[in-house]
Symmetry: C2
Subunit: 223 residues, 2 copies
DNA sequence: GTGCAGCATATTGTATACCGCTCCCACTGG
DNA sequence: CCAGTGGGAGCGGTATACAATATGCTGCAC
């Protein structure tokens, strides 16, 4: 999908994540098309993608609604992520090459630099973090695992605004990545899997605490 | 998606599975539209779905090709399936209700009847087997797990023609289902997971043996 | 007053025309 | 004979018009 379709996807996704489109709200293809400045055709493509990623729910009669995310959805997504990313780490430990290992180290070094900075840039942290997980997924060399995990990671973004990124949290992530690297360089799959599973589950609880703290409040608005 | 779109999906999928569309062959939306008697629009929808299910691969320039399945794809799909279905069984053991348990028993009883018949009807076996796994997935109550597994199960159909369904194989499946039921009625998640993982992995090896036996031969044609 | 029927409207599904890109092949120049 | 380039055909992306279907409202009958 090229420009119009991607643009519609990004625009609608943004409207959902920002709360501009409230959970449960009905979506009309035509209205979205107008809002995005494209025709219904690319909007329909975008809606299919968003439906796959569970940002959108469809009624029996094929009408689209913004998905309503609950605590149980958070649990559901993270439980699966923990299992799948753990599995990816195990496979990666047996397959990772020197270049990938070096890239992982570089990204984690950049994360440490960010943490040490007077004012850590969370967005930059998230980007390096994302790349670390992407490299591991690539090293795992399983197209279907990549596909399933890709969807789940996309979904996790819904709760990102709930997360509080204090320095301690970032530092813990860095340490866990370090241990992961140790497991990789020793090709210890079981170790890598255990670390990764713990890494994701810790993140889950951080999200959940933050989510519950702001519970009852407005719909996941970016604070 | 309604009639035209579903019809296009089923038709294209059928052409791929039957070998009428050879692995690696390029697909033209217009040609498929003509072949299905619909316009390009529903064909495009169908291609998106088939791409998600990895029946179709797309080039950088968005041209569509029939996916080429290798032994490593079989391994990839079944390794994930074993893990995810195992996980589903574990969750189901903690959540399954009496009605679902009863339905599972009924389907497995029907499977036993089929096996005992003079000429077991493999299609009927497959249908009951499918329903058993569907009920367990439903009992697992994880939308994301269901979504990921749904894709993988669809994909497994590619190798179905390779499978030889002798009576011994069917009988083993029946026995494993019986054990699964025992684990469920005792709400023993760990047991259920172990049985299910073994169940899928055994099926994997059966597929692989059959696949390798007919290796080099024609393209997965229905014998 | 309530319930059902039928119509108006909103929304999605499908067909088709047009546009721009990509790929392939033939032609030309070295 | 080979490489590079230009052009044409094929293909996917998008817009738009039209068809089918669901929904909700209004009015009528009981």
């Amino acid at each position: 999908m090229s420009r119009a379709s991607d643009h519609a996807y990004a625009a609608i996704r943004g409207m959902i994540l920002s709360g501009q489109l409230a959970p449960g709200a009905q979506l009309s293809e035509e209205a979205l098309a107008d809002a995005c400045g494209v025709s219904r055709t690319p909007v329909r493509d975008a809606l299919r993608r968003l439906e796959n990623e569970m940002f959108i729910r469809r009624s029996e009669s094929q009408r689209s609604f913004v998905a309503e995310w609950s605590l149980s959805d958070l649990e559901d997504a993270f439980e699966l992520r923990a299992m799948l990313e753990g599995h990816a780490a195990r496979r990666a430990a047996a397959r990772i090459n020197a270049l990938q290992l070096e890239q992982l180290k570089a990204h984690n070094r950049r994360i440490q630099e960010e943490i040490s900075a007077r004012q850590p840039d969370v967005l930059r942290f998230l980007e390096h973090n994302r790349l670390i997980h992407a490299i591991i997924l690539e090293a795992a060399a399983s197209p279907r695992l990549a596909s399933s995990l890709g969807m789940l990671v996309e979904q996790s973004v819904v709760w990102r605004t709930a997360q509080q990124y204090d320095r301690e949290n970032l530092q813990r992530s860095h340490h866990e990545h370090e241990e992961l690297l140790a497991a990789f360089s020793r090709a210890d799959g079981a170790w890598a899997e255990a670390i990764m599973t713990a890494h994701i589950r810790r993140a889950f609880h951080a999200y959940r605490d933050a989510y519950q703290a702001q519970l009852g409040g407005s719909q996941l608005s970016a604070a």
